[in-house]
């Protein structure tokens, strides 16, 4: 017989600790294209899955310690989602109109540093390459903005 309370404790503790760790409750819109790790998805789903694994491995044996194990599973799951998941399974590195590229996600200070180092080295080829790259990234950003505005208009329509 499945003990639903164990699963509820695991999900509940994962949600509470996830919120305390400042994970967003839900991914941003449009949700189906979002790579943001949030409390509801995937943290709660992972908590259910990890609890099921623990259960089937025989660590839950219908005693009061089951509730403590479920609580710990929920806490570990939210810590895993916050700090480890993005490191072991990072979002893909490619320029797609629907997904933000890592190059555009870099802080502007990084771009400034690259620009400065290239201007110091004085190689015109490198700087022109960088210019082209920055222009293409600007274009891709504009495209993505256009796409997002189109999608917004459609959702309003």
């Amino acid at each position: 017989m499945i003990n639903y309370i164990v699963y509820m404790i695991a999900v509940g503790s994962a949600i509470i600790v996830g919120l305390l760790l400042r994970l967003p409750l839900l991914p941003e819109n449009p949700k189906r294209q979002s790579w943001t790790i949030s409390v509801i998805f995937p943290t709660a789903v992972l908590a259910l899955g990890f609890t099921a694994m623990i259960s089937k491995l025989g660590y839950l044996n219908s005693t009061n310690t089951d509730y403590i194990i479920a609580l710990v599973v929920g806490i570990i799951t939210s810590i895993f989602s916050k700090f480890i998941l993005e490191r072991i399974l990072p979002r893909p590195v490619h320029d797609s109109p629907h997904e933000p590229s890592l190059s555009s996600a870099e802080p502007p200070e990084e771009h400034e540093k690259i620009k400065e180092s290239q201007s110091r080295s004085g190689s015109s080829k490198n700087s022109s390459e960088y210019k082209n790259k920055s222009e293409s990234s600007k274009n891709s950003n504009n495209e993505s903005e256009d796409n997002s505005s189109q999608m917004k208009e459609e959702s309003h329509g």
Partner: protein, 167 residues
């Protein structure tokens, strides 16, 4: 329940489960990876529909609701309901992330079929019937005739407002 009738019902439920969830999650809208685009455009060249082709390409290239439905059925058969389905949903999520997919379709498909398997067990449909049913369901999409199946998927995408804007 008679095994043959059970398999037919399971096939219909599995087909609806993965097609509706995958379409809702936007698989016909755009190819997630290069491979899906190649498959989509290849199907269009052979007289199919581009949105349906993207759908078919996407379910080949990453574990979406079709894989979620099949894996959850297998896990429920092997491990038990609902633990197997929950474990399958977790593993499908990791598989999705490895395949450059955010993971909504696969995980949702695995969770919904787990609920459906739990509910239909009361009328005698077993997880084994769902495994066979899902194989039949995916065969109708990927195994028979791509142009026709892609047109059907394109029509469903159009009705659900998920038709591709790419040319």
């Amino acid at each position: 329940m008679d095994e043959l009738i059970g398999i037919i019902i399971a096939a219909v439920i599995s087909w609806l489960n993965f097609v509706l969830i995958d379409t809702w999650m936007g698989l016909p809208e755009s190819p997630g990876v290069k491979g899906a685009e190649v498959i989509g455009r290849g199907i269009k060249k052979r007289g199919g529909d581009l949105a349906g082709g993207f759908f078919q390409g996407n379910i080949v290239c990453s574990p979406d609701a079709s894989a979620g439905t099949l894996l959850a059925s297998i896990a429920c058969y092997a491990i038990g309901t609902p633990e197997g389905g929950l474990i399958a949903a977790t593993l499908v999520y990791f598989g999705n992330r490895l395949c450059a997919d955010p993971g909504y379709a696969g995980t949702t498909g695995a969770l919904t079929i787990t609920i459906i398997i739990a509910l239909t067990s009361y009328i005698g449909i077993t997880p084994a019937m769902f495994i066979v049913g899902m194989l039949i369901a995916i065969f109708t999409i990927q195994g028979l005739y791509h142009p026709a199946s892609s047109k059907l998927l394109g029509k469903i995408a159009h009705k659900m407002g998920r038709y591709t804007k790419l040319n």
